[in-house]
Each structure stands twice: as structure tokens, then as C-alpha cells.
């Protein structure tokens, strides 16, 4: 191994608190204590990553409280070294980490809150795309309706939450205490960035959520009507889909109709 490569490895090991011979590479010169100097790097390294977790997940941080947040930072830094050029992706593994690592994994609401915060960020960073207005539906002739497919805005994110995670996020965001964590049955959410570049979200019924999922998978209008027969009769189901479409146009979520 080259001298340079050895130095890189030793320094990285040092930053991660692993056994390291980095101090063998450093001079004690001009009265400078090499351990103090090395520590400037380790301190800055950890602080930078801590700040990223804190900035990306402010609500999770408040939900956890200082002590658990410190533990999260300590464990996450060691287990998930940054492999991206941008710190924007540093916390991408955080929801998964929280669902796997004790003591966090004993409270599944934590992973959901973290995921919700990440989806808000993804929506914020997504590429832009022209949005269609409801008038685009008027030019579709009746014979084309069954085959239409939809494309959605790149910022659109879907969340399926079992716990009162979004409600707790809302409470903390508006400086109220969240209710105790409860498994309240599946709740469905759509998150997106609106035309003013602000992130929005709202809850969805299960039929609306599964219709949206089916469109996302590439199903056409007639195909997405079928599963709705579980809740609506044959006459009502297509109108129900049209109602959803209206809402999605209202939300400025649709970017393309393929006939």
C-alpha cells in the first residue's frame, strides 16, 4: 500500500474512533500537541454529521429528546459512513436504521417520523415538471377514456403509516405535545411540492391511495376501476376515479395524460 493510502486509511479510522496509527504520521511541532490537533478534525467531522441529522430531522430530534438523540447520532455515524458527495443523502438510511437498531426499533413510530421527514425533503428537491390543468380532460374523447394513463409530478411521494407519526410530526411542528405513540391502523399520505415551491401533504382514503398506486404502476383508467368494485358498484366506480382525478388536478399533481 502506498504511503498516501495508508495515511488516508489511518485518518479515516481515527475519525470513526477505531484503532488507528494516525498519530505516527503527525509531528509534535512548535509546541503543538498532535492529539489536540488531530482532535480538531474528529470534532469537526462529528459535529458536521450531527448538524446534518439535526437539520434534516428536527422533529425526530425533538420527539426523541436530547439523550436519545445523542445516542442516535453516535450510533448512526459509526454504522452509516457517508458514501455520497452530497450531505443531502447522508440520512437516507436513517428510517431503516431506526427500524433495525435497538432501542429505537422498539418504537416503530420513530422510523415513520424519520421517513415522513425524508419524503418532505425528497419532494422539495425533486425536478420540476409542467403540470396539467383539469381542462386537459375535456379534450379526451369518450372512446379514449378507458385507455388513459397518467404521469405524476416528480415531487410526489406516498407514505403508508401504521402509527400516529404524521399527527405527532404536526403536533411538534406547531409546538404542541404529541399524543402517545399509538398503532392506529394504516393511514395513507401523499406529499408533493406545489407550484409555489412549497411542500404540501394530505391524507388519502385507502381506495384513493390504491388507485393512485395503480396509476403509478402504469395501469390505465379501466384497469384502475376494477379494484374499486370492492367498495363501489359498477356504475359508481368510474365516477369515483374521475373524482380522484379532479382532486389530483386540483393538487397540481398530474403532468401528463397518455391516451
Amino acid at each position: 500500500m502506498s504511503e498516501l493510502k495508508k495515511l488516508h486509511h489511518s485518518f479515516i479510522d481515527y475519525l470513526f474512533d477505531k484503532e488507528s496509527d494516525i498519530s505516527d504520521f503527525i509531528c509534535d511541532k512548535n509546541g503543538a500537541n498532535k492529539n489536540d490537533r488531530l482532535n480538531i478534525y474528529r470534532f469537526a467531522f462529528k459535529k458536521r454529521l450531527r448538524d446534518v441529522i439535526d437539520n434534516d430531522h428536527p422533529v425526530l430530534g425533538q420527539y426523541l429528546g436530547d439523550e436519545l438523540f445523542d445516542l442516535l447520532v453516535e450510533k448512526y455515524i459509526v454504522l452509516h459512513p457517508s458514501r455520497h458527495v452530497s450531505l443531502r443523502h447522508y440520512c437516507d438510511d436513517l428510517p431503516q436504521f431506526l427500524s433495525k437498531q435497538a432501542p429505537f426499533s422498539e418504537h416503530p413510530i420513530l422510523a415513520e417520523i424519520a421517513l415522513f421527514e425524508r419524503l418532505l425533503m425528497f419532494a422539495f428537491d425533486a425536478s420540476k415538471s409542467e403540470r396539467l390543468t383539469i381542462e386537459s380532460l375535456q379534450i379526451i374523447t369518450p372512446e379514449h377514456w378507458p385507455a388513459i394513463k397518467l404521469r405524476f409530478h416528480p415531487s410526489m411521494q406516498l407514505l403508508n403509516a401504521e402509527w400516529n407519526s404524521v399527527e405527532s410530526w404536526q403536533a411538534i411542528k406547531s409546538e404542541r405535545s404529541p399524543e402517545p405513540a399509538t398503532q392506529q391502523g394504516e393511514r395513507y399520505w401523499v406529499i408533493w411540492r406545489n407550484q409555489e415551491n412549497l411542500t404540501e401533504y394530505r391524507s388519502l382514503s385507502f381506495p384513493e391511495w390504491s388507485t393512485l398506486q395503480n396509476f403509478l404502476r402504469g395501469s390505465c383508467f379501466s384497469e384502475v376501476c376494477e379494484p374499486l368494485l370492492e367498495w363501489y358498484n359498477e356504475q359508481r366506480a368510474p365516477y369515483q376515479v374521475v373524482d380522484y382525478l379532479r382532486q389530483w388536478f386540483n393538487d397540481k399533481l398530474i403532468t401528463k395524460i397518455e391516451a
Binding site: L4, H8, S82
Partner: protein, 299 residues
């Protein structure tokens, strides 16, 4: 005096920060140019991209990266270079810079500007990679000196000799961070004037000025304070010896209102005007509130 020394000269700029997006767009302040952090705009869309394009319509820009990791022992990150190349095509910057350091190794990104040992091995390694990067981007890049806190036993030459050698052999250019020279001179006990005296002046395209935190025994490059008097003195010396070099204030933390940075930048203009007739004219005109935009005057 040829105050441009064959270099393009942009005048006085600031680092573009999200906190100032609205102000810049609404007030169109009298700033000659902006420097953007490349990585902040390597996103598909959203607010940063919107402001980048809107502000670019009114100001010249340069791009400053933190992730090239030119001194790393990992292969150059081609995906990063591709993102950089497409951002260059989008922004059409006057030039592109990164740091003379390593930021990642072993596939792990430290997100810090880690110092290199000043050895023949490191020179050869960096020169080869600078040439690869320049070939890929189709243009020379600027490298910036970083602040450092440790001295490697293996170093056989000074930092400025190391920097000069890499510049001479790779064909890259220099971004001299005057604050970093000061910080490292305090931490390693060298004469900062010698650093400035020794650089090849034709290669110096840009200056950074920034604040730091002084702990007595050592100084940390924190970019969260105004520029201090000793750095202004060093800047005065640099302008006197290197001529007109595009200058900017770099503030990354504790971002103050825009006007404060503008005032700091005007202080730099004032210092430069003591030595440079052209800058003096610009300084006068900016004091009398005329809008002056320096253009790239490549000679």
C-alpha cells in the same frame, strides 16, 4: 502596471447563500459576481435551482466545489465529474474551483478538507488526477489552499512549494484563500508573506477572504466571523504583490444580513484601490452609488 497580469478579472464578489436569495433577486445589489457551491445545485430541481437560474441572469458566476477529493487514493469519482460537467454547461461559470486536499478515501466521504503530506508521491498523484479532471471537464480548474491543523512527518517541502509544483506540472490555476494562509501560518508557525511571495502570480485567479476562530495556541477556519485585521493586512500585501485578483468574502455560518457582507466587501475594495488604479475607479464609482458591473476582461 498591467493590473490583470493576463488573468481574467471579475472584481469583487460574494459567496451566494440561500439566506440571501430573495434579497439578491429583489434588490440586485451592486456585487460584481457570485460564487456558488457546486454541490448545492447538483439536485434535480426545486428552490435552489430556481434561484440559481434567476440570479445567474443578472450576475457572472464562478463554481466552487468541495467533493472532487483530488488527493484521495480512491479513483476519481466519474459520477461526480459528470454532475459537475452538466452543472458547468448549465451555469456557464467564468471558472471552476475545488480544494488541494482529500475529502474521501476507502469509499467514505469525510465531508472535510483533509490536508495532504507535502511529498513527491502526493505531487505525482495529484498532478495526474488534476490532468484527468481537466481533460474530463475540458478546462483548467482552480485549486484552493486549505487551512490545516496537523503537520505530517513525511512532508519534505513547504505547503507553497507543494502547491506551486502541482500548479506548474498540471496546468491548473490557483485560488488563494488569504484567511487559510493566515490560519495555517499560525498553526504551523511559518511566515505568511513568504507564501504570497512564492506563488506564481500569473496563476492566481481568485482570492477568498473569510473569518476564523482564534484559540491562542491554534486557529480554526470557521467562516463564521467577519475578516480580522491580520487577514486584511495579508490581503493588502497580496494585492500589492500579486495585482488585481478577483476577490470575494466567504461566509458559511452565522450568515449576517446581506448588507453586512456588502460592507465587508467594500472594505476589500477600499484596500485594493490603494494599489490598483482600475479598482480605485471602480471603488469611487461604487461609493458614488453608480451601478458598476465588472466584466471579464481577459487580456
Amino acid at each position: 502596471m498591467d493590473i490583470n497580469n493576463g488573468r481574467p478579472y471579475l472584481g469583487f464578489g460574494l459567496g451566494l447563500r440561500t439566506e440571501h436569495y430573495h434579497h439578491v433577486l429583489e434588490q440586485k445589489p451592486d456585487i460584481d459576481w457570485f460564487e456558488i457551491i457546486s454541490e448545492n445545485y447538483m439536485v434535480a430541481g426545486g428552490k435552489p435551482k430556481y434561484f440559481l437560474h434567476a440570479i445567474r441572469e443578472h450576475y457572472p458566476m464562478v463554481m466552487h466545489g468541495v467533493s472532487l477529493s483530488i488527493g484521495s487514493s480512491d479513483p476519481l469519482d466519474i459520477n461526480y465529474l459528470k454532475s459537475l460537467r452538466s452543472l458547468i454547461a448549465e451555469v456557464q461559470p467564468e471558472w471552476v474551483s475545488d480544494h488541494l486536499c482529500w475529502t474521501s478515501a476507502h469509499g467514505i466521504n469525510t465531508h472535510d478538507l483533509m490536508p495532504l503530506p507535502y511529498t513527491e508521491e502526493a505531487i505525482n498523484h495529484v498532478v495526474e488526477r488534476v490532468q484527468q479532471a481537466q481533460e474530463f471537464l475540458g478546462r483548467p480548474i482552480l485549486l484552493e489552499n486549505v487551512s490545516s491543523y496537523v503537520t505530517y512527518k513525511h512532508s519534505v517541502i513547504s505547503e507553497w512549494e507543494f502547491f506551486n509544483e502541482i500548479v506548474a506540472r498540471s496546468g491548473c490555476l490557483m485560488l488563494l484563500d488569504i484567511n487559510n494562509i493566515y490560519v495555517s501560518s499560525r498553526n504551523h508557525n511559518f511566515d505568511p508573506l513568504r507564501y504570497i511571495d512564492s506563488v506564481d502570480k500569473e496563476k492566481v485567479f481568485q482570492f477568498h477572504l473569510a473569518g476564523h476562530s482564534d484559540y491562542g495556541d491554534y486557529v480554526i477556519d470557521t467562516h463564521d466571523h467577519p475578516v480580522v485585521e491580520s487577514v486584511w493586512s495579508l490581503y493588502r500585501y497580496a494585492i500589492e504583490h500579486l495585482g488585481a485578483v478577483s476577490t470575494m468574502i466567504e461566509r458559511d455560518d452565522q450568515i449576517p444580513p446581506f448588507e453586512e457582507l456588502e460592507a465587508e466587501l467594500n472594505y476589500a475594495r477600499g484596500i485594493a484601490s490603494e494599489f490598483l488604479p482600475q479598482t480605485n475607479a471602480q471603488f469611487q464609482s461604487s461609493c458614488s452609488n453608480k451601478v458598476s458591473r465588472a466584466s471579464s476582461c481577459q487580456s
